[in-house]
């Protein structure tokens, strides 16, 4: 729900850098990572913004898929001259949104010539394997289970930095070394166990997965790795770029 007119910003100095529609970000420092965050929940937008800013990203946060497309200039057929200057290094979007879901937004981005190379990360509060797979198959870079934590964002940030410095514009390159992945989301200080880049970790078996069957994380204490909700990653093979 958006009660703030679509783009979140607390009226405070540190929040005023958040872009409004497409009016800001004329020429971004090429070394700075610019993330477009999409979430219909104001609370979640504020949190994801802060998470990203703390990891030195510039953030534009919008409250719907439509506004995201509008910001990217994908909402009409006229090719915008401004697109050359618009630099988006990562799009992170909620899955469940009214109107256009994160999945639908993902598809539209992957269909566009200007932005299909931009990594798209999906966030969801529900750990549904079919949903995750569908997103990965459609080209999502990663899938984060909400609530999103600093460790999650740091991990994203790590594999972005190298891409931004090596490439120009919106091109994305596969990192040479895959980042280590971790199964314990609650202790960001724990050292991650190294896993091969294409490995998919599973959560413990539960009853048949459908959209009504969700795995909520244990609220009480840090879950053991076995209880950790699925963090799925998929790295494209080098040949696809």
């Amino acid at each position: 729900m958006a009660s703030d007119g679509g783009v979140s910003c607390l009226r405070r100095p540190e929040m005023m850098n958040v872009g409004i529609g497409g009016m800001e970000h004329p020429l971004l420092d090429v070394d700075e990572v610019h993330v477009l965050a999409v979430d219909d929940s104001l609370v979640d937008r504020i949190v994801i913004e802060r998470l990203l800013r703390i990891t030195s990203c510039k953030v534009t946060a919008v409250d719907s898929g439509w506004r995201a497309l509008e910001f990217l200039g994908l909402d009409n057929e006229k090719a915008s001259a401004e697109l050359d200057r618009l630099k988006v290094d990562l799009i992170i979007t909620d899955y469940c949104m009214p109107g256009m879901t994160g999945y639908e937004l993902l598809k539209k981005i992957k269909e566009s010539s200007s932005f299909r190379q931009v990594p798209v990360v999906i966030m969801s509060s529900e750990n549904v394997i079919t949903r995750i797979d569908r997103c990965l198959e459609e080209g999502a870079e990663d899938f984060l289970l909400k609530p999103v934590k600093l460790a999650d964002v740091k991990r994203l940030r790590n594999y972005l930095t190298r891409d931004v410095k090596l490439s120009n514009g919106n091109k994305r390159k596969l990192p040479e070394d895959s980042p280590p992945s971790t199964l314990s989301p609650d202790s960001s200080d724990s050292s991650p166990s190294p896993l091969s880049p294409v490995e998919i970790f599973s959560s413990p078996p539960s009853s048949p997965i459908d959209d009504d069957n969700v795995l909520t994380s244990s609220p009480e204490s840090s879950p053991s790795p076995e209880e950790t909700p699925v963090r799925r990653q998929k790295m494209r093979s080098p040949g696809l770029d």
Binding site: V43, D44, I54, S125, K146, P147, S221, S222
Partner: protein
Amino acid sequence: MNTVVAQLQRQFQDYLVSLYQQGFLDNQFTELRKLQDEGTPDFVAEVVSLFFDDCSKLINTMSRSLERPENVDFKQVDSGVHQLKGSSSSVGARRVKNVCISFKECCDVQNREGCLRCLQQVDYEYKMLKTKLQDLFNLEQRILQAGGMIPQVNIS
């Protein structure tokens, strides 16, 4: 050594730990606190304030949807519960989130009575949490005003 500050810090620490132990907060609240620093000392307070506003609005909307027994908009209620569950999860409001889980179940089977009970419970829980956190933030302020720093509290 400033014993006033030390005392306040201990109070703060004990209070915060008790909130976790009593199930009001979960690890996500800890995550939010990590995002706060000297440059953004009110971050957590602001986020939870938005959350409480959200609660109030959503509860009102759902209450209206549930009002007339012969005409309950369960879709609307479900949407409200979903949003509430999401935002409570994002701020670490554990009890509120847990009520939302039950709430959703009542909604799924179109149990109006159950929904009304959950609505009442969620209202109670968010207001309780609001009071508790206000006390916590007041303690924080007192520490800062006494010239002390907010302790890092490790919850395990």
